[in-house]
């Protein structure tokens, strides 16, 4: 693994020493409007979130399921854009590392280096572009290295161990393991496929591995933490809870509790 030293790497190391998996909480900025989303993020932090992952909405999110698609669409309709999202991160002034999840065209359009540098100035520690594989990422990696922003890349259950190793070489933050075949959204169970994938990936690389897509329950988080995941990523469940007016903080707290390995 290539290493950079920033708040994200420090956080992951700290949790590892404490034998905890990280709770990575995702929420799309601007949903349903910017102020409410900042409020939700604050609740996620109060609930014990270790890494806050914020979405910058894109009009055509091909890796996202209906919940996040609809949220992105609403955020865009209410005027969300990267500039306002950076402003929101600055305002939030989080005590934990903040990472961005978005799609590559938003970086490309703003100028990749400009995007990374603006993100950094706002307090962002890591960036993931969901449709950017390592083959297309050289400009992105250069900008991230220059501004001390960690890179996060996705791996999937069908990514060969050989390719996992290759992707790990480009990853200075963590590997984002897609838990199952499909888009983002809640699922009932953590499949055996996911547990096997975690074990296989952990064997292939020392780079931290966080698991996302379909993780919504304490039981999911516990199983993944036990299987060796360095973090669990929860997103759609928070969007749903916020739509339903349920306590975000309580949900985060429950999930965080489940990441404490025995």
């Amino acid at each position: 693994m290539n290493s950079i030293e920033n708040s994200l790497s420090a956080k992951l190391r700290e949790l590892k020493e404490k034998k905890q998996a990280a709770l990575v909480s995702f929420f799309p900025l601007g949903f349903p409007n910017m102020n409410t989303s900042i409020d939700v993020c604050a609740q996620l932090l109060c609930g014990g979130t270790d890494i806050l992952e914020v979405g910058i909405p894109f009009s055509d999110p091909i890796a996202d399921g209906p919940t996040i698609q609809a949220a992105s669409q609403q955020a865009l309709a209410n005027g969300a854009n990267p500039k306002k999202c950076f402003e929101a991160v600055r305002k939030l002034n989080a005590s934990v590392p903040v990472m961005i999840l978005t799609y590559y065209n938003l970086l490309y359009k703003m100028g990749v280096e400009n995007f990374v540098s603006e993100a950094k100035k706002a307090g962002v520690s890591a960036i993931l572009a969901a449709d950017l594989p390592i083959e297309e990422a050289s400009e992105f990696e250069k900008a991230c290295a220059k501004h001390n922003v960690a890179t996060v890349f996705i791996i999937a259950p069908n990514t060969s161990s050989e390719r996992v190793k290759k992707i790990a070489l480009h990853t200075t933050g963590f590997l984002y393991l897609m838990a199952h075949f499909g888009v983002t959204g809640e699922k009932d169970n953590v499949e055996d496929l996911t547990i096997q994938a975690v074990k296989r990936v952990k064997k292939a690389t020392n780079t931290p591995v966080c698991v996302g897509f379909g993780i919504s329950k304490e039981e999911h988080a516990r199983k993944l933490a036990e299987a060796g995941a360095d973090g669990v990523i929860v997103g759609s469940a928070f969007v749903k809870a916020s739509r339903a007016g349920e306590s975000i903080e309580a949900l985060a707290r429950k999930l965080k509790h489940a990441t404490l390995k025995k």
């Binding site: 890796a63 669409q73 500039k83 799609y103 065209n105 359009k109 897609m178």
Partner: protein, 397 residues
Amino acid sequence: MFYDYPDKNGKFGVFGGKFVPEVITPLLEELEQAYNNAKKDEQFQLQLNDLLKHFAGRPTPIYFAENLSKRVGGARIFLKREDLAHLGAHKINNALGQALLAKFMGKKRVIAETGAGQHGVATASACAKLGLKCRVYMGSVDVERQALNVFRMKLMGAEVTPVESGSKTLKDAINEAFRDWIANVHDTHYLIGSVVGPHPYPLIVRDFQSIIGKEAKKQASDTIGKLPDCIVACVGGGSNAAGIFSEFVSDEKVKLIGVEAGGKSKKSGEHAASICLGTKGVLHGSLGFVLQDEFGQIIETHSVSAGLDYPGVGPEHCLLHELKRAEYVSATDEEALEAFKTLSECEGIMPALESAHALAHAVKLAKKMKKEESILVCLSGRGDKDVEIIKKNTSLL
């Protein structure tokens, strides 16, 4: 000129590439491998040629539009009659090629996106013929304006899934097809209908459509007497244009012109002219000209023809534009409707509204050219599917 694209990374100059979620990467590699094998596989080639000849009815003729040429005055206008191919459009060429490829890959299920419905219909037909399960994603706006094609797909056994997200048109149908593919990586082939998407799609679709250009080149001496001075084709994603251009790129005397959808006006949101009015961006897996706002959000487009109503364009067209090997212009809704009417009246041929864009530009061009000169228009499809729209827009005529 030396022209050999895409390169091994799937790039057409700076354009193209594979901007996809990681889960799709192994699928693209598998597809590229299978395609390279199929190219050398005699069985595959024999079967495909047989299907193209006996099932799709190829070759399609080049037709001299004598009445139209006389009326316009100027260059002689010829039509490459893709409207006479099975199901009434060039889409069958690619659908058969890829469906056969899916079969050779051992896939059981095919998914596709469609705008005007022509690609959906072609895919449904190819899947029926080859015994593959077929699901077609179609924006709900298009489902409504191309109802006849929805019915045709269903008749041939395809499942049609209306897409309600985003602008509810072609781009959203593509998003949804990608999502399906991500969830069904093991048994499904995504049969993309145009020269768009991540590598190797722009290459594969162009190659399967290059039969249009290969035939045209062979037929030119008998019909036109020489190579045409100019080839005109409509460009949404750009598959019929890529197919006919591909054989003539190295014939530098042949002028290549792609015609985009000018819609109602040049105002943002009122057209679909990605090369003429767009900027560089990444959409649906490749880098090219896209219609987007200052932050990179994709803008909704408008065209009277559903098949051109797309905010991106194939990466190869972006390169041909940048190399100035092809020229890209636009025709408005009104000009396309007028061309539809003109061709119907004077030749008894109803063109698809997509093809009518190419025709509209050809007519303009012919007026400025000499009688000895010739224009070959790729008449990519027939207009039966569009008569409802024509009826609604008669006030424009």
